[in-house]
């Protein structure tokens, strides 16, 4: 079995896995980072979103071996120690989550949006979330959370 090494949330980590192992399985099972979730098997739900070399990626669409040597950020790496990131605060303040299962993917995906568009319109947010499914919130408070995060992160006013 090949050994795969990557920098995850700022720490060098490595582990053995089969060639066919998906990045999401490697993160969850080999590295024990269970914050990244699996909600489908057709790459549609977005529960597995992480950042690979700074870009939002559905980690079920990538083999772990393809991410060898990459810089990965998962939901566990978003906060700065005990200090929550503004987007995490925004999700909590705006009730942007219910069961919490889609939440890690939503947050990782929304961070990517705000990186490229600091001041997105409601329509742009909704469009961006096309690849992230949530069955609980009806998206209402997720959109509100992202709008609030944009303000808190210095984008929208």
């Amino acid at each position: 079995m090949p050994t795969v090494s990557m920098t995850v949330n700022g720490r060098k980590m490595s582990g053995e896995c089969e060639e066919r192992t998906l990045l999401v399985s490697f993160l969850r099972e080999t590295l024990g980072l269970t914050g990244t979730h699996v909600g489908c098997d057709t790459s549609q739900c977005g529960a597995c979103c992480v950042h690979v070399n700074g870009d939002s990626v559905k980690s079920c669409t990538l083999l772990a071996v393809q991410a060898d040597g990459a810089e990965i950020t998962t939901i566990e790496g978003v906060a700065n120690g005990e200090e929550l990131h503004a987007i995490q605060e925004a999700f909590r303040d705006n009730h942007g989550l219910q069961c919490g299962f889609c939440t890690p993917g939503m947050i990782m995906s929304a961070l990517d949006l705000l990186k490229h568009n600091a001041n997105p319109s409601e329509t742009e947010i909704r469009h961006h979330l096309e690849g992230n499914l949530c069955r609980c919130t009806g998206y209402h408070n997720i959109v509100k959370s992202i709008q609030a995060a944009a303000v808190a992160m210095g984008g929208a006013s």
């Binding site: 909600g39 098997d41 057709t42 929550l84 009730h95 219910q98 299962f101 919130t137 009806g138 998206y139």
Partner: protein
């Protein structure tokens, strides 16, 4: 008011772990030495199993391959159904066996044929491909109406004609008499499309057996771990409860689909002992589509009789409900006691008669999905009322208001078994009409027309029976168990509090709402309250969460336990302050002796409760830990009015939801933020049913929409911000005055959307889901008809 007490928009206590990736869902749990199971499932809707050969899989390294024969040899029973329905003639429904693993016949695509256990999931998947199953494919019954016709393929040999039951409610003669006098009769045929619940967390289960203690543990994605323990322990595996622990940790949404006791739970629990190692199973999404119980699937014909003034005289409904291949835990109650009883809707229709036939088919079992029967009832009632308005040239809002049960008539006994306790239905409609500016609709419609677009507005007024359930009523209606709830309040020596509740949260935020009730009553800070749920090893027996029952039943149990704590504390305070108990009052977290300045904080009482020196032993025990079991007197009746406004592009048939307004009466509200969230999510699920979601089976019983490639899940860009408000009329028969908010959105929304589309297009019989294709075809068919 306590700043974190009842009525406050408290941020959720549970959120921190979810937003930091530290939730603890079943699939996040790994047990030492665990193996992985994959279930080999039938690719056929209906087939005889001629043979199963597991030798190759075993030779290639499977830990075990277990089949229906192993299950039968182990003396394991089938999965039970929790609700007994009687036929019109009084005879009991047909209840065919539902084996944990199929023995000699498979009855739906996804029926379990073998359980393959290996060192990893990938290996188990590979080995499952080596299991050779020889099938003799049989013709399949798929559509429920067709399944009841003579000559249809037989799903179970011992269920003649595939009829599970033929049931009725209400009195037929008065309804026939009403129709005989009617000035107008409106007729309606609707199909309530089958849905896949699709909680974002797929189901998962881990079974573990401790040889030293003889204890079994099941971790499972369940809404009601105690119910699973009871059903699995007592009925399926024959395990005593003190040796069986069921844990449902964080659960990623349920919407009904995680109520039921599923075969995989029993299989991993049993097999963990067989192989002597823990076994983990997690469902793939495609597997969920063919193994999670689905919802709805009703074919209904309804007729409404009106007099000359538009008053409803009588209503008759005949429904065929699809049960799927086997009876899931609550399946039989959905099209009967959770459906037909709601057919009065909000209207004072004096005579109602409903007939329901339930059919077995070679499809995935059907059971409760958010709303469970009540959305189906609401859709029938609100569709026919709208149609009647169109046919008789009346405004749909006006026709509704003419027939509403007035607030002054409460409590109101309907002709279909329920007694509504409270509600102001007229105000719901008036408020909602005002928010959406109903009077301004013609101008908005003109503006749309100028752009070449169609515009429509649709109403839906709903009522639901929640707070499931008063046990005497439920028992009389066929439930095999009472449906009360429990709560234990354990006050610790330093005054912090742990609540153990039989309710289960899988997104509803009980850890916050229940803590708010404690704050309000005991005056303790919210940080000092912990709510524990989901582990039969910790909590008292409880019935779990479904049917919008957690607050209305579990919350009231909590309230009652808090009252007992306060009463016990008063005894302790009276003893400590040397006062008569009757002179001691409790307010804002302090016991005070009336008319004096003597007072003691709740924390001081808690400490004394655990370190007493001189309690009078005959009158006062140490400790401050109280439990209540609350069995409600009646259902609660949340109600409301939803209005949807749509714009449709006639060239493409694409429907855009422009506005969605909901005014709901949930009784008193503990946390408005959480309640709004429940409504938002519910509305989206109703819109999903109305516009895009559909489980489509082909004639051979294959599910054509079995993945997210084909089953259209509602997405963020399908909707605007919802406009939700409340019209609080407290429930009259529980101590908190609460009614429940979990299902309302889903119950009301679909009919509002479809009525808006019918209004916009002028096509009265558009069915769900109103996909762009269906809408386009309807517009063009009616244009072609008009041209003829």
């Amino acid at each position: 008011m306590n700043e974190n007490g009842i009525g406050a928009r408290v941020r959720r206590k549970e959120d921190k772990r979810f937003i930091t990736g530290r939730g603890n869902y079943t699939d996040d749990i790994n047990r030492h030495g665990q193996t992985h199971a994959v279930f080999l499932r039938s690719p056929h809707a209906h087939a005889r199993i001629v043979s199963i050969d597991t030798k190759a899989a075993m030779a290639a390294g499977a830990v075990a391959v277990l089949t229906g024969k192993d299950v039968a040899d182990a003396g394991i029973n089938g999965l039970p159904c929790g609700w007994l329905i009687h036929n019109k003639d009084g005879s009991p429904m047909k209840e065919p066996g539902h084996p944990v693993i199929a023995l000699d016949r498979v009855r739906h695509v996804g029926d379990i044929v073998a359980m393959v256990i290996a060192e990893s999931k990938n290996q188990a998947k590979d080995l499952a491909e080596l299991v050779e199953v020889d099938y003799e494919v049989l013709p399949a019954a798929v559509n429920a109406v067709e399944a009841l016709k003579p000559g249809a393929p037989q799903v179970h040999d011992d269920v003649e004609g595939n009829l599970c039951y033929d049931w009725h409610l209400g009195e037929k003669d008065p309804v026939d008499a009403a129709f005989a006098q009617a000035a107008h009769v409106t007729k309606l045929d609707v199909y309530n499309n089958r849905l896949a619940p699709n909680a974002m967390e797929p189901r998962a289960a881990i079974g573990e057996y401790d040889r030293a203690t003889g204890e079994h543990t099941l971790y499972t994605t369940s809404q009601n771990p105690h119910v699973i323990r009871l059903l699995m322990g007592a009925f399926v595996l024959g395990l005593p409860e003190h040796k069986l622990r069921v844990v449902s940790p964080d659960v990623g949404g349920g919407f009904g689909s995680k109520i039921f006791h599923y075969a995989e739970e029993a299989a991993v629990t049993w097999a963990a002992k067989v192989v002597g190692r823990p076994i983990k199973w997690n469902s793939d999404r495609s597997e969920a589509f063919i193994s999670d119980a689905q919802g709805r699937d009703h074919h209904t014909h309804a007729e409404l009789a009106l007099d000359n003034d538009g008053k409803f005289l009588g209503f008759r409904v005949s429904t065929t409900a699809n049960m799927g291949a086997y009876l899931s835990t609550f399946s039989t109650s959905i099209p009967t006691y959770l459906y037909a009883t709601l057919l009065a809707g909000l209207y004072a229709t004096p005579a109602i008669y409903a007939e329901v036939k339930a059919a077995f088919t070679n499809t995935v079992p059907v059971d409760a999905y958010r709303g469970a029967g009540r959305p189906e009832a609401c859709f029938v009632v609100e569709s026919i009322v709208d149609k009647a308005a169109r046919e008789t040239g009346r405004d749909p809002a006006a026709l509704r208001k003419l027939n509403l049960i007035p607030a002054s008539a409460m409590p109101y006994q309907t002709p279909v078994a329920l007694q509504y306790d409270s509600g102001d239905f007229v105000k719901n409609i008036d408020d909602a009409l005002k928010v959406i500016d109903y009077d301004g609709f013609p101008a908005r419609c003109d503006a749309s027309k100028k752009k070449g677009m169609l515009r429509g507005i649709g109403l839906s007024s709903y009522i639901e029976a929640c707070g499931i359930a008063p046990s005497t009523v439920a028992g009389a209606l066929g439930a095999r168990a009472g449906l009360y709830e429990s709560a234990e309040v354990r006050v610790h020596p330093t005054g912090s509090v742990t609540v153990f509740t039989g309710s289960h949260s899988h997104g509803q935020g009980h850890e916050t709402t229940f803590a708010q009730i404690v704050c309000e009553r005991l005056g303790v800070p919210i940080e000092n309250v912990e709510v524990v749920h989901g582990d039969t090893g910790k909590i008292p027996f409880g019935m779990g969460t479904y049917g919008s029952r957690s607050l209305a039943v579990g919350g009231v149990a909590l309230h009652n336990s808090l009252e007992k704590v306060i009463a016990k504390g008063r005894k302790i305070a009276a003893h400590m302050m040397e006062a008569a108990e009757t002179d001691v009052e409790f307010k804002d977290g302090h016991y005070r002796v009336a008319g004096t300045d003597k007072e003691l904080a709740f924390g001081a009482i808690a400490l004394q409760a655990y370190v007493p020196h001189n309690f009078p032993h005959d009158e006062l025990e140490p400790g401050l830990d109280e439990t209540s079991f609350y069995d409600p007197k009646n259902f609660t009746y949340p109600n409301g009015c939803h209005i949807c406004e749509v714009e449709i592009d006639p060239d493409t048939g694409v429907t855009r939801i422009e506005r969605f307004v909901a005014v709901d009466d949930f009784g008193n509200i503990i946390n408005p933020m959480i309640v709004e969230g429940q409504v938002h999510g519910g509305i989206m699920q109703g819109i999903g049913q109305a516009l895009c979601e559909d489980c489509i089976y082909d004639e051979s019983g294959q599910l054509l929409t079995g993945s997210y490639m084909d089953y259209c899940m509602p997405k963020a860009d399908m909707v605007p911000f919802y406009e939700v408000g409340t019209n609080v009329v407290p429930c009259t028969h529980n101590a908190l005055g609460v009614k429940g908010a979990g299902e309302a959105g889903t119950i009301g929304a679909a009919a509002a959307v479809i009525n808006a589309i019918r209004h916009a297009t002028g096509v009265g019989d558009i069915q769900m889901p109103a996909t762009s294709q269906r809408v386009w075809q309807a517009i063009n068919a009616s244009a072609a008809q008009a041209a003829e």
